[in-house]
């Protein structure tokens, strides 16, 4: 079935540094969603991208959807300790009954 690969698995940064996580698929995606899971918490929806080449921003977070709709990225500018957590991408799988397929997640730690 469809798989969504996410890298890196872990990222440790100094507060103020930038951070990027990437999500890749071998097949064209209809859309992609991003979730954040704080330590000890549950995943919370951040954003959805639908259009080819789409870019959306939420304060210091920038989300991109590739032109071919096969990859996506989440970039955080000037990380803060509140950004700590695991970031997951997720994509809809039409050939698996509309199931949402999650990437493995990128765990971000930020040193103050």
């Amino acid at each position: 079935g469809q798989q969504v690969m996410q890298i890196p698995q872990y990222q440790h940064v100094q507060e103020g540094e930038d951070f990027t996580t990437y999500c890749n698929s071998s097949t064209t995606l209809s859309n992609i969603q991003w979730y954040k899971q704080r330590p000890g918490g549950h995943p919370v929806f951040l954003i959805q991208l639908v259009k080819s080449g789409e870019v959306k921003k939420q304060k210091r977070l920038t989300f991109q959807f590739g032109e071919a709709k096969k990859n996506s990225s989440l970039h955080i500018t000037a990380t803060q300790t509140t950004d700590v957590g695991t970031y997951f991408c997720a994509a809809l799988s039409y050939n698996q009954g509309g199931k949402l397929i999650f990437g493995q997640g990128t765990e971000l730690s930020v040193k103050p």
Partner: protein, 115 residues
């Protein structure tokens, strides 16, 4: 309700016992998912219910795991003859419509510890 609720929040059981985990999705949500998350790991898909369709059970790790969704609402995940490797957080999520660009809302999870 206001969100997805799960019970119990914590469950400690002895190896070999059966456990039942409950999920109450957001009212009106047609799609319901169960995931398992081991410490520091990603989301492992277990099972997916969509309306009245047959559930997608492709993620269940063994025949000790089963789930049902009664009346298209509440779901229970049952683990029979629990093993220590079953220890994890079990997350439930629901969405209004599946097969559409729709947000998943997660419950707080049930932390299962098998001694």
């Amino acid at each position: 309700g206001a969100g997805v609720s799960q019970s119990p929040s914590n469950k400690v059981t002895e190896k070999g016992k059966d456990v039942e985990l409950r999920c109450d999705p957001i009212s009106g949500h047609t799609a319901l998912y169960w995931y398992r998350q081991s410490l520091g790991q990603g989301l492992e898909f277990l099972i997916y219910f969509q309306g009245n369709s047959a559930p997608d059970k492709s993620g269940l790790p063994s025949d000790r795991f089963s789930a049902e969704r009664t009346g298209g609402s509440v779901s229970t995940l049952t683990i029979q003859r629990t093993q220590q490797e079953d220890s994890a957080v079990y997350l439930c999520a629901s969405s209004l419509l599946a097969g559409v660009s729709d947000t998943q809302y997660f419950g707080p999870g049930t932390r299962l510890t098998v001694l």
